[in-house]
Amino acid sequence: MNPAVPTWAGVAASLALVALAVAIAWRQRLRLAREITIAAARAGAQLTAVGAVLLVVFARAGLAGAFGWLAVMVLIAGQVAARRARGLPRALPVATAAVAAGTAATVGTLLALGVIGPQPRVVIPVGGMVVSGAMAAAAVTLTRLREEAAAARPLIEARLCLGMPAAQAFAPHLHAALRTALIPSVDSTKTVGLISLPGAMTGLILAGVSPLTAIRYQIVVMYMLLAAAALAALIAARLAQHALFDDAHRLRPLPVVTSAERQAGPGGTNESRRLP
């Protein structure tokens, strides 16, 4: 066994770190002790279940099973991103289509070019990273678009009143939303290795792979995350624009979303922590 990989006893021992976090939360009266305990228990249970299922999928389900797994991840990611964009018309199909398209194009390109092999043990983790990146970008794009459409209605309608088509009237707001969505991906790509050692590379090094081999994987991961985020954000923005305006180039009425409702979404919950 690779000495860097912890035993189950080691995993149990790491609960001491959770106990430390709970103690700090309790001592500082943060009212987070229960939530930290539940989160740690959920993480352990979820990852154990996922590990067991992956074991079966790798052994028996083949490539079709891997793509099925990815499809389920895309559906869940679409729901998470759509909940962020609560109040946006057709948020669920828009978010799901954006994540699906970003994932399909990125993973498909990697497979077609032979950058990654068509084995379930490659497709599932790589696809998972792509889905996660696409989900984060789609969620930020759709949230910003909804906020822009609601806050900038007078500006948008002033442009519409000058005879501008919806796409032109909304363009400045669409560009702002896209920039906001993509800046985190661009920044993490710029600073990778300087202020952080990314997950894939860290995992490979911990598993005993040479750092020079690990960085090859990491470079591919960074490029694919950049592409997945850009594609998902762009597709989400275009589809959302169609959903926000009707055929007569009118901005549809948008329901008022209170800050409490926004908090009730995935923001501040476990799902948001999965966003890079």
């Binding site: 309608e157 002033a158 000058l162 005879g163 007569a248």
Partner: protein
């Protein structure tokens, strides 16, 4: 004379609801071409909704709106909005300087044309190079009016254009409306100011509780524009 003028807009039993709220209830009226029509009534009566129907920023749930006898959905909506320009109650500026603002209404506008538009709304040509951020409320409202005029519309829809202006700026806007009608255009104006409606409107539509209570035939003012 008002009765013989050709009809510009026809509203035929127009009802508008938004989110379960009734905004207009079975409103029918004719708005004549070539004159200024004022729409008055208390706040929440549906005046702005009525104005927004005329350039399809709103769509009726029931009934129909026609321009020169043609239902609005049969017309190209982008061309319609260039023909029927709406100026909102609160000035909304889209660009960083005055010349660019006018070019938002008409791309390719040269400086002489832009200066002419400023002159139309009683603003000095020297303002062309000024940033829009420093304009007063009155200047911004008149600039929005000039931006709308830049597209050479046939109809001006003015939503309380003088409600936040000083007397001089308000008079300048009224003069623009008057000149626009004199040049063959039509104006539909929302106003709470009886003096203003009597000065510039040939007919007055009164909306109360989302219904029309006076038709053009029952106008409260038939004064010709001075």
């Amino acid at each position: 004379m008002a009765q013989s003028a050709p009809t510009l807009f026809t509203l035929d039993r127009v009802t508008v609801r938004r989110g379960g709220t009734l905004l207009l209830d079975e409103v029918s009226c004719h708005i004549p071409a070539g004159s200024c029509t004022a729409v008055t009534g208390p706040s929440g009566a549906g005046k702005t909704t009525l104005l927004r129907l005329l350039n399809r920023l709103e769509e009726p749930d029931r009934g129909r709106v026609c321009l020169h006898g043609r239902p609005l959905p049969d017309l190209d909506v982008l061309a319609l909005r260039r023909r029927v320009a709406l100026v909102a109650q609160a000035p909304v500026l889209l660009t960083g300087d005055v010349l660019d603002e006018l070019r938002a209404g008409q791309p390719g506008l040269d400086r002489a044309q832009a200066a002419g538009l400023l002159d139309q709304v009683s603003l000095p040509a020297a303002m062309l190079t000024r940033p829009t951020a420093g304009l007063s409320g009155g200047e911004a409202q008149r600039l929005c009016l000039a931006r709308a005029l830049a597209a050479r519309p046939q109809v001006l829809l003015l939503d309380e254009p003088t409600s936040a202006l000083d007397a001089a700026s308000a008079r300048a806007v009224e003069q623009v409306a008057g000149s626009f009608v004199a040049d063959g255009g039509s104006v539909v104006l929302i106003s709470h100011d009886p003096g203003q409606t009597s000065r510039i409107a040939r007919q007055v539509l009164v909306l109360r509780a989302r219904q029309l209570t006076a038709s053009p035939a029952q106008t409260t003012s038939h004064r010709e524009r001075p």
